[in-house]
Symmetry: C2
Subunit: 334 residues, 2 copies
């Protein structure tokens, strides 16, 4: 059982989820993970299906199945199941009455794990086109599935890779949290977009396509280091076509987004090897003003007292220089 709490007087929220503290970690204590660590006991690996909750969606040879109590489906390509230590859950006991006027509501929602491969050491940057296309379809399917549930207002789709990026399990996986409210970051963006005369992201596309911050482009998308990057080597992937939601993306855009994600991860790998990072989808359903984008943040720096005090980020590596490394203009070590 968890609880959604609103800030005393700002439109900001926390989820108090004490059960999440019980989740195990397969990372070794003193160092960053390598692909091999924890392999033997990994609950996300192919063959270990009994160790997770029943899968809500199992992708296998282009078809979708769901586990039944009497049989869990083996030999899958992608596997989705409820997080065993959920921050939000569809079944919630009523909250005890508070003696104050503060807002609290039960932590209603969904928290799903999307396992990206049965293989422990598989990495997205080495996916074949078919595997990549498969994953992007899973991302789209699961997002659409949850946004249509009762009372759900936002689907947060993201990946934590590496302990310093918040992962507690090393096996390659993404996560999805379906929330009963629109989160403050998206609310703020939407307010600013509605006050603009045109889509700011469409303008960003035109500007960054010809800027020194451009990293890569394909037929549908660009990848660039954003002008006001919150940390070293932050990257945004933006489709040229104004689409708001994964469910609105054509097959071409969907694949192009994944293709660009894979290319950026390969560039990261050439420079940093196996480095902790997050990637996150920013999208809004039934909100045609919004322009979907995908962001990557390597975890090369951390927020200190100044960032906590101000909300301003000190970034010690300019996005122009990061872009030149990520394009391959500058080789690592120079």
């Amino acid at each position: 059982m968890s609880e959604i709490r609103k800030h005393y007087f700002l439109s900001e929220y926390c989820i108090i989820a004490e059960d999440r503290a019980k989740r195990p970690s397969d990372f070794p204590k003193a160092s960053e993970a390598s692909d091999k660590n924890g392999y033997s006991s990994c609950t996300f690996c192919g063959g270990a299906e009994e160790k997770t909750p029943f899968a809500t969606a199992v992708y296998k040879n282009g078809k979708i199945f769901a586990d039944a109590p009497e049989k869990r489906i083996p030999d899958w390509d992608f596997r989705c199941f409820p997080n065993l230590y959920p921050a939000l859950s569809p079944v919630q006991a009523p909250l005890e009455l508070q003696d104050t006027g503060l807002m609290a509501e039960p932590g209603y929602g969904f928290h799903e794990v999307i396992v990206e491969s049965p293989l422990h050491g598989k990495r997205l940057e080495n996916f074949s086109d078919i595997e990549l296309s498969g994953l992007m379809h899973v991302y789209r399917d699961r997002t659409c599935s949850y946004i249509n549930r009762k009372k759900i207002r936002y689907v947060s789709l993201f990946k934590n890779s590496g302990k310093a990026a918040g992962a507690s399990i090393d096996h390659p996986h993404s996560q999805l949290l379906a929330l009963p409210f629109c989160p403050p970051l998206l609310e703020r963006e939407l307010k600013a977009i509605r006050e603009s005369k045109m889509c700011p992201y469409c303008a960003i596309f035109d500007m960054e396509k010809a800027s020194p911050r451009l990293i890569l482009e394909n037929s549908e998308c660009i990848a660039f280091a954003p002008y006001s990057s919150m940390g070293p080597f932050e990257v945004w992937i933006l489709p040229q076509k104004h689409v708001s939601f994964l469910g609105d993306c054509s097959e071409q855009i969907l694949f192009a987004l994944g293709d660009m994600l894979r290319a950026v991860l390969r560039s990261y790998g050439k420079i940093f090897g196996n480095m902790p990072f997050n990637h996150m989808f920013y999208q809004l359903n039934s909100t045609p003003e919004y322009h979907l984008n995908l962001r990557l943040l390597p975890r090369l720096s951390l927020n200190a007292g100044f960032e906590l005090n101000t909300g301003v980020y000190i970034n010690t590596f300019s996005p122009e220089r990061a872009a030149s490394y990520l394009r391959g203009d500058i080789l690592p070590g120079n």
Copy 2:
């Protein structure tokens, strides 16, 4: 030379400060710091005054001095000098003209180090009343000194303690960044406060003084775990009297704030030993609506993809339970 950049279309900012990447660290590579590490080569220790920039303020026996080029002042109690790797600096070259309409301005401002003791292993929780009073006066003096400089709009006063909290030097010190703009977190608070009919912090004081989240109180302040805590064991210290700025605080309030800070740090120490944390002052000069407060955040969890995607924090330890530990109702290990 650094650069202040605004987000494409939101009122959010980054400081691009590439020189800061060159700063050294005295922490050992693979583990959290202990008090002894780096002692022999520490540039912040008493006796090593030659290794830092000239001090802008040296506190000694209740008087304030400044270093002169021919002589650096020895045997001090507190010592303040410009950060050798500043995020902002008063001397800035004009920026090269950008080819876009994006906002950039030179990284004008001040970045100061406040060394809290000449002794490497000294910790705030062990300060005597006289030492504590001295430090709080330094905090007030330096804040007032910088808020009155040309073009300065906000003074961020904070401490990073431990590598995971963003410290690169183990010797006990705080930092001050004087900014030429009001940061977004304070802007957002101020907007909400101005829309309220009364001071939300005064209401918070009354509510939390009688809540299960109260940790400690003294004649002037309370310390409590905020209702919507962004992480485990977050603590806010709030004076009862509505004051907006350290410069407006009476001697009594100033000492009471420090006394409460010391008490909370002692409680942290009993539970966690030497743990990374930040403390930050939230204050606004010439803004009578604002209500000064001081916040502490132990670095026991980290922001992952969900927090980056939404701005919503998942907290695995309820503030009510954290308060009961910090009050000493529950002993560590239970």
